[in-house]
Amino acid sequence: MRALAANLEEVFREAAARWTLVAWFALSTLFVGIFAAAVNLDIVDGALAGVKLFGKTVDIAGRKVDVDRLVLGFESGFSAILYLVGTFLAVFATAHLVPRLQEKGTIDLYLSRPVGRVPLLLSRFLSGLLLAAANVFYLIVSIWLIVGWKTSVWDPRLLSGGGIILFAITTLLAFAFLVGVVTSSTAVSIMVTYGLFFLSSILAAHEKIEAALSSKWSAGLVRALYWILPKTAQLGQAVVTLVSDGHSFRRAPALDPFAVYGTTALFALVSLALASWLFSRKDF
């Protein structure tokens, strides 16, 4: 436990000293600040005062809209942006953890201590995840508090959406660690992980792609890739439907929870297990 705690502390100290992470939190704070200022504009205050006086509906382009639906609509839009930006920034800010550890002159310092290789790698993974979670929830909780304070709508769905975003980050980070162990390159880890994100998003339309392919073999390959790779597009969709409707799959009945969460979790587990196995057998 002492070794694990020391490793976590070291990663967090590095995070504090690195500009990428400082910038990450600074940008988040700037966003929260701008949002807080925007909701304090007279026009917003006026609309909200009207809502308080005349009941829980607002008039938007001649249509009466329930204020709860309006808030959740805003929050689901925000969660969609956060899903995309949060996962990309998390990978960008933590993908260096393994390549930097494996550098000559650095790895010797760690492995010459009585620390197992797998616990060392997993403690780095946990540290990266904690950093990403801290940032995602910093943004989500800040926005949720501001919106709740201004509208008195305290629906916890946005907070639950953060769980799915973190699940996606966990999966991508596990894959980035695997690439990092194999290549020892931060740049390659980032590029390949972003590539995976886009490829698996395209594969969300695998049925249409399969139908367009003339070769059975190619169609089979696309289907196999769809089932093997994480479901990044569907997870994004799940975040939005969870925040707006309260159920991640109600609006999208075609989404099978096992197909989305199960195969994605399996991909993350296999990536992490493979990264641990390779790291434990590597000659430095």
Binding site: A6, R13, A16, G105, T106, S112, F284
Partner: protein, 318 residues
Amino acid sequence: MPSPAVELDSLTKVYRAGLGGRRVTALSAVDLKVERGEVFGLLGPNGAGKTTAVKVLLGLTFPTAGAARLLGIPSTDRESRRRVGYLPEGHRFPGYLTARQTLSVFGRMSGVGPADLKRRIPVLLERLRIAEWADVRVKRFSKGMTQRLGLASALVHEPKVLLLDEPTDGVDPVGRREIRDLLREEAAKGTTVLLNSHLLSEIELTCDRVAVLRKGTVAAEGRIADLTRTSPRYRLCLAATPVEPALLESFRSTGALVDSVNGHFELTVRDVTHLNALVDRVRAAGGEIEELSPLRSSLEDVFVELVKSPGEREEKPS
């Protein structure tokens, strides 16, 4: 009897160069024992296998065949590293940590508790003369200071074995002497020190025994005094010069090698009997001996001779 501090048992390491590439043998059936409390030097030219041997001992690299043990525990068991301090060559401590934080992080990784760390860190920083820089980030340290911090980090968990790769690299002459003294102090406390260095003078001044690796095998091993005495050479000064060429020819006719160096002679003989026979010839020729003393090779001479390929070796007396 306790197990040796460091033990390599028919250790072989073969690397593969690239995917399916040729096999490179870094270590070939190396046997080596370093007893507890010894200060031992591991020598060899670049690529001889010194670093690979140390990496196998620390579990950084896995052996192809044979075994490596630290304090009797196989190197594949991480417990073998609990009482081992290591200073790698070209180490890179995280630049964002201060010296104090570095020792705290790596001390805890070796299982040292907070109370012990609180007591040991200031003592170590003082001992390595970096106490004034305790709260300065490592990225601001000079090479010599980083090296001192590396030593402090290797000592923070009070190890029983120290594996040091070029510990005086980048350190000024005064600092080198301080590090030598520190290693001697550690050895006096019973710590085993395995020193891996290219600085043969440092090894000569610090170590009790050495092993010379050459192309992945042990070319020589023993006490420095024994290794540097391997060549039976003597310095001979005669009172009456010039010396008769016939006398030197008579030396050579016995199989001795004779070199004239700055007014004296260097004789390479088979043994003491052979030497006495030459002395008899000097006396018989009416010569007077002013000085006769054994010539010791420096460790560097022995090293250079050992790492040469067989065809390049120096001629021996017949």
